[in-house]
């Protein structure tokens, strides 16, 4: 009779968490950077439009 020894999968949950932390962390940082850059550009645009109006 052949006995098969079934081993449980290794516990590397910490690596899985680290992997997902990187994936979500980088995406959140990128989305935040898009929002911050957009706000900053909108402020610049308002300022430039004000200057343009003053010149007229």
């Amino acid at each position: 009779m052949i006995l098969m020894q079934v081993q449980p999968p290794p516990d590397n949950t910490a690596y899985m968490i680290a992997g997902f932390a990187i994936i979500f962390g980088v995406m959140i940082i990128y989305v935040t950077s898009l929002i911050v850059r957009n706000r900053s550009l909108m402020r610049d645009l308002e300022l430039l439009e004000e200057l343009e109006d003053q010149d007229r």
């Binding site: 590397n12 899985m16 990187i22």
Partner: protein
């Protein structure tokens, strides 16, 4: 500045819902792989991020070709947006792959052909972003950018096929029966469903971020024009 299109707002919502569902599928629906354990779940988003990165670089090259034939600077804005999104997602691919490799290959990094070509590809596009900064004239910058993204795209198929054509320990899970890679596994139907759903989700993430980044680029161009008008 054009107001945000309604369809983009809807797309933002749909993408977030898809990401939540994909995360649930990857963490709870797909079974734990027998030999690799929980870390194998990183694979679903690792490959999907790689797909988005390569798709972005393809979009950048196509925009580059269109720029060279039309000379419309809008296409340079599109190309830059695509490269930026691509660099972010290839970074995710490389780092998540390295975290997966530690328990599976027993090392964070090895100069395997797939890892090396992916790193070279990333460096090529990082150099694109840096070199652009050094060119003042917008037309010259756009011309340079277009030629660079077309030539740089050579690195994309090289990276994709490196694991198939060269001796590598990187697993090839899609469309191959080659068991030689360290960490190769056969996908069960729930695994395949989670994988396909992750690819779909990341494609939506790509479209959403790409669109937002193009809008940001157009806003930046408008400000650059206004600054020039104010100075003159």
């Amino acid at each position: 500045m054009e107001p945000k299109p309604r369809i983009l707002t809807i797309l933002d919502g749909v993408t977030l819902i898809l990401l939540a569902v994909a995360t649930w599928m990857v963490l709870f629906y797909a079974p734990t792989e027998a030999t690799m354990g929980p870390v194998q779940r990183v694979f679903y988003f690792h490959v999907a991020a790689g797909w988005v990165g390569m798709l972005s670089f393809l979009a950048a090259a196509v925009a580059g070709i269109i720029y060279l034939s039309t000379k419309s600077r809008n296409w340079d804005t599109v190309s830059l947006a695509a490269v930026e999104v691509g660099v972010v997602f290839i970074f995710i691919t490389i780092i998540s792959g390295s975290i997966w490799a530690r328990p599976i290959w027993n090392t964070w990094w090895t100069w395997d052909p797939r890892l090396t070509t992916a790193t070279v590809m990333q460096l090529i596009y990082l150099a694109y972003l840096m070199l652009r900064q050094g060119i003042e004239d917008p037309d010259r910058r756009a011309r340079f950018g277009a030629v660079y993204t077309i030539l740089g795209f050579v690195s994309v198929p090289l990276t994709f096929f490196s694991a198939r054509l060269l001796r590598t320990i990187h697993p090839i899970v899609i469309a191959t029966g080659d068991p030689s890679g360290e960490g190769t596994f056969n996908m069960t139907p729930p695994m395949l469903q989670a994988f396909m759903f992750s690819l779909l989700t990341f494609s939506f993430i790509f479209i959403t971020l790409f669109w937002h980044r193009i809008r940001l680029g157009k806003l930046s161009d408008r400000i650059e024009q206004l600054k020039l008008m104010t100075i003159n």
